[in-house]
Amino acid sequence: MSNTRMREDEFLEGIKSHDRRSLAKMLSLCEKDPETANVLLDKLEKKTSHVVGITGSPGVGKSTLISAILDKMNGKNVGVIVVDPSSPFTGGALLGDRVRMQSHATNEKFFIRSFANRGALGGLSPSIYEACDTFESFGMDNVIIETVGVGQSEIDVSNIADTVIVVLSPDNGDEIQMMKAGLMEIADLFVINKSDNPRSQILLSRLRAMTAGSKEVPIYLTNAVTSEGVERLVRALDSRFFQILSDGTLSQKRRKRLLNHVKSMIRRELDRLVQSFEIDGISPKEMRDHIIEELCRKKRL
């Protein structure tokens, strides 16, 4: 059998029987051919993982924190999705988050996968929904997603994650600026990482002052390098999951995620159509009408 091919039914069997290599291949399919991936996903049993999104400026310690979280997740199955930016010029990308998690590379309970954002805005990969569904169908207890962490508009993670952690660090001077740009609203938990830096206390009181009055968002202090405070964070994540499961928040979130998944599928098809159109001598309006016609004609994508 060749390296890159695996038959569809083999995928399905593999995923069902918890075969690591099938999971790897299925995730590649999500990137290469998301339509087929969606067809296959429909044939798999739906399971629910706690999907945790982690966002924050570059360098605050997101990847290191994930590694520390994995240390405290013994016994659980965890899928990790890390996203890095693609170059808008060459399309190439350097995927470097994995470096910080390599001590877990051979742990059979964990599965780490790197994605390039391939031009997608919002700090995630264009196939993020399919990838996340794949991990869930595989039976992961948790799925952790690390966003690109460059833009200020990385709020897409709240469209997919059940719980969003916004990570801040006292090293980054522009944190408060970031908060104003919308990250504040999506945070379910704040982590102030690099607690070994004495200035983390100042950041803590500033953040407390800023969040006072709005919905109550807990703040955790961690040192991702030595794992200090990480156990508490992990326990908080677990209890939050039970909380949102029982109070109906989770089903709300899942509904939102489903809608966003659908939107992303439609957008993908739309993009494809727009790209494939000859634009010579056609007005924008005519083009739109053609595309809509095309979409309707093709009822089933």
């Binding site: 890159t4 693609s86 350097l94 470097g96 790197s114």
Partner: protein
Amino acid sequence: MIKVMIAKPGLDGHDRGAKVVAKALRDAGMEVIYTGIRQTPEQIAQSAVDEDVDVLGISILSGAHMKLVPKILELLKKMGSNMPVFVGGIIPKEDAKRLKEIGVVEVYGPGTPTSEIAEQVRKFVEHSNA
């Protein structure tokens, strides 16, 4: 889209070559996962399979290549992968020959132009997809 992993087994920290190659492949439009230094054969093989990369590049300068490369190939095989693997570093000719015999697709010595490596990586991928 070609996905490559550049891995550095062994304990030496001489990552100049590995980084230059990683950067060149990225600039050639590929998605490159660089593992960082000090990776065990187990970490490298498992990561390459999990990431389902099209090609694996191994950079070794510590002189431990005859132990580490065969081990990585053996592990990949065990995991059911036959992805193309290339090696870069200070590799004596007779060792390079031996490595190719056991399945390494190419061995690059110091001074190989990165453009040549990028071009060949494309070929390895075409070849393994054929």
